[in-house]
């Protein structure tokens, strides 16, 4: 089977039961994406598939043969951090760091959704431009849990990048 991860082609022979997350971690050595709950509840496994954030634990690798997958390894490099990675460092958006790759991939997808004008549960109006207030950021990031509870700093980091984008 062929997969495209972070713009690179990979070949792997995997059992049909393999989740996209296990493909990345166990077969391709891309261990940035983390396994927390393995049931879509914690968000540590969040990756981008064709630009959209999803939980890689709740989907099968075989279903993604023709897709473009982006993981934390594809967002930035140690020498050239993605703006979200830099902002998480600057604002101390983590303690143990386990949820961070998922948080950052999720935030990247979320900023895109906001740019497209997608409303959220806390949006007073469903139409028009989205203003990423702290309440909006928290609601839109609620699929990513942080056991160290670095939430205020995560929101600070994302707010800064959202501001630069605007």
């Amino acid at each position: 089977m062929h997969f495209t991860i972070n713009g690179q082609k990979y070949e792997a022979d995997v059992d049909v039961r393999t989740s996209l997350l296990d493909l990345l971690r166990e077969h391709l050595g891309l261990t940035g994406s983390k396994k927390g709950c393995d049931h879509g509840q914690c968000g540590a496994c969040t990756v981008l598939v064709n630009g959209r954030r999803i939980n890689s634990c709740l989907t099968l690798a075989v279903m993604h043969e023709d897709d473009e997958v982006t993981t934390i390894e594809g967002l930035g490099t140690p020498d050239k951090l993605h703006p979200l990675q830099a902002a998480f460092v600057k604002h101390d958006g983590f303690q143990c760091g386990y949820c961070t790759p998922g948080q950052i991939c999720s935030a990247a997808g979320m900023l895109d959704e906001a740019k497209k004008g997608w409303p959220s549960h806390v949006s007073e109006r469903l139409e028009g431009e989205v203003e990423l207030t702290d309440a909006e950021i928290s609601e839109r990031m609620s699929g990513n849990l942080c056991r160290c509870s670095a939430y205020p700093n995560i929101v600070d980091a994302i707010r800064e990048v959202a501001g630069e984008d605007a």
């Binding site: 959704e113 469903l126 990031m141 609620s142």
Partner: protein
């Protein structure tokens, strides 16, 4: 996870032809794979329907909407027509799950998501829905999230969805394709089944029958909202939810369409409760009469008794909000 055969369908017809009792269609996979990991679901074959051309939201000639079964919850919630004309649906979708899950969860899969009853998820214990005839430990056990309406001796589980509650309030129609090529149009009011003696059968869908679309009639008259009460502010299933569409003209309620989540084994609707409102002046008397009608047959099982007063208060709060009458 038990192993299975995997095939990708290239047309709806081909998908239905491959369907069967031990076969499951897989769309977003967010419910099915969750259950397969726990061996609550053990299909012999998965038919991947994600590449089918069922991804559009189109206007119907009647002024309504035709939603492809694969339209993700996120896209549907943000669709310009949904946002403008079906606010209750957009709000219900946005109240469900997380951004990541809504990107994957499909319209068809959401309708068919299974209950979150703890015993249903635990293969070490009995559960009539999972293992017909084995018993229902929830009745006398932990039942805080369970149903108070429409239950049976065999099962007291709720349907956990938000989107289907709004669709029930909107009189949606579910369009399907059967293996013999027949197309069916099933009103959402006839789509779900009460548990009765067979809680394992949740809908009227037949083996191999594929949901292809969901149709909404032209936008209803009145203001719309969805209120979800849950244990935390986001990313939790409903304890009680209310989808409401209410119109007031010349001091009288002229339309009331109410859907309820968290209360029953299916997204709930009660014609009598709506009759208590239509033709009446909005206010305490009418609102309380509607709540009385809705909850007349409600039965708690201990830990979920609180849902009965909570449903009452939530309904009245929503009616006040939509009519602007707080007296």
């Amino acid at each position: 996870m038990k192993t299975f055969d995997y095939a990708r369908a290239d047309s709806p017809e081909a998908a239905t032809r491959e369907g069967g009792e031990k076969v499951r269609f897989i769309a977003g996979g967010t419910n099915l794979l969750d259950l397969m990991k726990l061996q609550v679901e053990t299909p012999e074959k998965l038919i991947d329907i994600t590449r089918l051309d069922l991804n559009e939201v189109e206007d119907t000639d009647e002024g309504g909407l035709r939603i492809g079964a694969l339209v993700p919850n996120a896209d549907l919630a943000a669709h310009p027509r949904v946002v403008k004309d079906y606010e209750v649906l957009s709000r219900a979708l946005l109240a469900g799950a997380s951004g990541q899950l809504r990107n994957k969860a499909s319209t068809g899969g959401n309708l068919l998501q299974r209950t979150r009853c703890y015993y249903f998820y635990d293969t070490a214990v009995a559960c009539n829905k999972r293992e017909p005839g084995s018993g229902c430990p929830a009745r006398d056990g932990f039942n805080r999230i369970h149903a108070v309406l429409g239950t049976s001796d065999k099962c007291i589980a709720t349907h956990p969805g938000d989107m289907p509650v709004a669709m029930r309030a909107l009189d949606a129609v579910i369009v399907t394709l059967k293996p013999d090529g027949d197309k069916r149009r099933i009103s959402i009011h006839d789509f779900y089944r009460l548990p009765g003696d067979t809680p394992e059968i949740e809908t009227v869908l037949e083996s191999g029958e594929l949901i292809t679309h969901v149709e909404l009639p032209a936008p209803p008259k009145g203001k719309q909202t969805y209120r979800k009460v849950r244990d935390r502010a986001s990313y939790a299933f409903a304890l009680v939810s209310v989808a409401a569409i209410v119109a007031v003209e010349d001091g009288k309620i002229t339309n009331a369409q109410l859907g309820f989540g968290g209360l029953g084994p299916m997204p709930w609707r009660d014609a009598t409760a709506e009759e208590m409102l239509v033709g009446k002046a909005p206010g305490k008397a009418a609102f309380e009469a509607a709540a009385d009608a809705l909850l007349a047959d409600a039965q708690g099982f201990g830990s979920n008794d609180f849902k009965i007063p909570l449903a009452r208060r939530t309904l009245i709060a929503v009616l006040r909000e939509l009519t602007g009458v707080t007296a």
